[in-house]
Amino acid sequence: MRYGRHMTTTYAVLSEGLEKRFGEVRALQGLDLAVAEGRVCGVLGPNGAGKTTAVRLLTTLLRPDAGSARVAGHDLVREPAAVRGAIGVTGQYASVDGDLTGRENLRLFAKLHRMRGPTGRTRADELLDRFGLTEAADRPTSTYSGGMRRRLDLAASLVTRPAVLFLDEPTTGLDPHSRNQIWETVRALKSEGTTVLLTTQYLEEADQLADDIVLVDHGRTAHTGSPAELKALIGSCAEVVVAHPDAMSGAAAVLDQLTGSEPAFDEERRAVGVVTTDPTLTLPRLVRELDAAGVPLLDASLRPPTLEDVFLRLTDRKELVT
């Protein structure tokens, strides 16, 4: 399959300047996304960043106010039906029928995907089995636990093999076992060539699953890159803990001078942190400089950044990560 061409890569999702407002709220104000075919793209953002709105636009549930996008090679606004034929969606909120049983739900969705008679029934049974729902298959889904409903929701998006799968916070609220099951599913789909766009607030999840990460903040693309690229962009995190609150400003001054970047404070822990891309800044040097400046050090560390650091740094939030 060849989708929207862009240089030599083909993109399964390509959006430019997507905008959406709800009355006064500008949920999206220029979202650019480029997800290469066959890759897993993690859309990462805090509450209210616009992740769900982005997914709803890209899955034809909402119409953009401005901007354009192609999904699986089809224009979102002009060919919504073709887009719907190529995608699977699991929204942030359950979208199965609570009054029907798990089996009835999957059979219905199979039928609506034009799988007639025994084909649809077999597919429903396969999916129930794959997601560990066979035992609960004949209970109304309103009696399912959150994790079971989530798994059924995912199964419902996989009735046909979609070219592009959208997952909006697929593991929020799940226990580690269910979460792993969903991660495994995503990996299996990727190995079968499905393009996956997933949103998440969990950095670990993006780190584990995503080939590319898009940081979204205030409805805009704040940054794009692989997990490694994003980490390299920031460099390392230096953090020092001082003996008494009065020493924090002194420590900050030294860190500022060493790295040229603005320190962040955690008053409670009496910690000051800073990020640096300077390879000559080693832990011994850090300690020496602070000691020379008379800062009463209790603890000092220099570690590679987590995605959390990247996230807080690139989305303009100054709190220190603990």
Partner: protein
């Protein structure tokens, strides 16, 4: 069009399954008129100028139509439930006909209403109501009743899709019980004060009720009154045509636009 028929049938099946798993609302809306028939027919009937048996025969068509008007409530409730529980979102992302979801709901409602009307008719027969006209006219009466139900369901679907929450839909739906009170379904309108009488006679429920009484041969068509009541069959058909022409396209459009909030 065949897409619509195929998807519509699938949605009809879904709706019937839902009702089978969850028959509460259906049982309530179908046993209510039976209770009312017995209560009104024997308690109120004794205080009216009309003899009891005659009043009960007068009341049965009224209750049939009042029950059909519940289509607003059930249509609203089901549509609101769907759109606020997110399953509608899934349908909207499937490569299926957009009109199929509301159409399937309306069709299922029709099937269920047709079946649910039988007990009321049986109780009606037991308390003295009779089909006095021809079989053809009686069939016409049933057809008209179902057509009216179909029309009111679309009002409900539109309101349900437009509602802010399931609770809001439930409350507004509950308020629709006053509609038949402002009609000739339970009482003759002749003695109402002028303006109230006019309002009641322009209530679509009055036209359909009068048509049913006429077609079942329970009561003659009033000689004077508002046009829909003095020409009840034409008046009912006109009302149904107007309601369907207005509310069906609006509801389908509303569904396709999909303005349900994210939460």
């Amino acid at each position: 069009m065949s897409t619509l028929a195929y998807d519509g049938t699938a949605m009809l099946g879904r709706q019937l399954r839902r009702i089978r798993h969850n028959p509460g609302l259906l049982i309530l809306t179908q046993t209510m008129p039976i209770t009312m028939l017995l209560f009104f027919g024997y308690v109120f009937g004794s205080a009216l100028a009309m003899p009891g048996e005659e009043y009960r025969a007068f009341l049965v068509p009224g209750l049939l139509v009042a029950t059909a008007a519940n289509g607003i409530m059930t249509g609203m409730f089901q549509a609101a439930q769907d759109s606020h529980r997110g399953v509608t979102d899934r349908f909207r992302t499937l490569p299926m006909s957009r009109a199929a979801v509301p159409l399937g709901q309306a069709a299922a409602d029709l099937v269920v209403t047709a079946a649910g009307t039988v007990p009321l008719l049986l109780v009606g027969l037991a308390v003295g109501w009779r089909i006095e006209g021809s079989a053809l006219e009686a069939a016409g009466a049933v057809g008209l009743l179902l057509l009216f139900r179909f029309a009111t369901t679309w009002i409900g679907i539109l309101l349900g899709l437009a509602s802010r929450s399931e609770e809001a839909a439930g409350q507004l739906g509950g308020a629709t019980f006053i509609l038949p009170l402002l009609s000739n379904a339970y009482i003759p309108t002749d003695n109402l004060p002028g303006w109230l009488r006019t309002a009641a006679e322009w209530n679509p429920i009055s036209a359909v009720t009068t048509a049913l009484r006429d077609l079942f041969g329970n009561a003659p068509v009033p000689a004077d009154g508002a046009w829909p009541v003095t020409h009840p069959v034409a008046g009912s058909l006109a009302w149904c045509a107007v309601l369907i022409a207005v509310f069906l396209p609006l509801a389908v459009r509303r569904y396709a636009l999909g303005a349900s909030p994210t939460r």
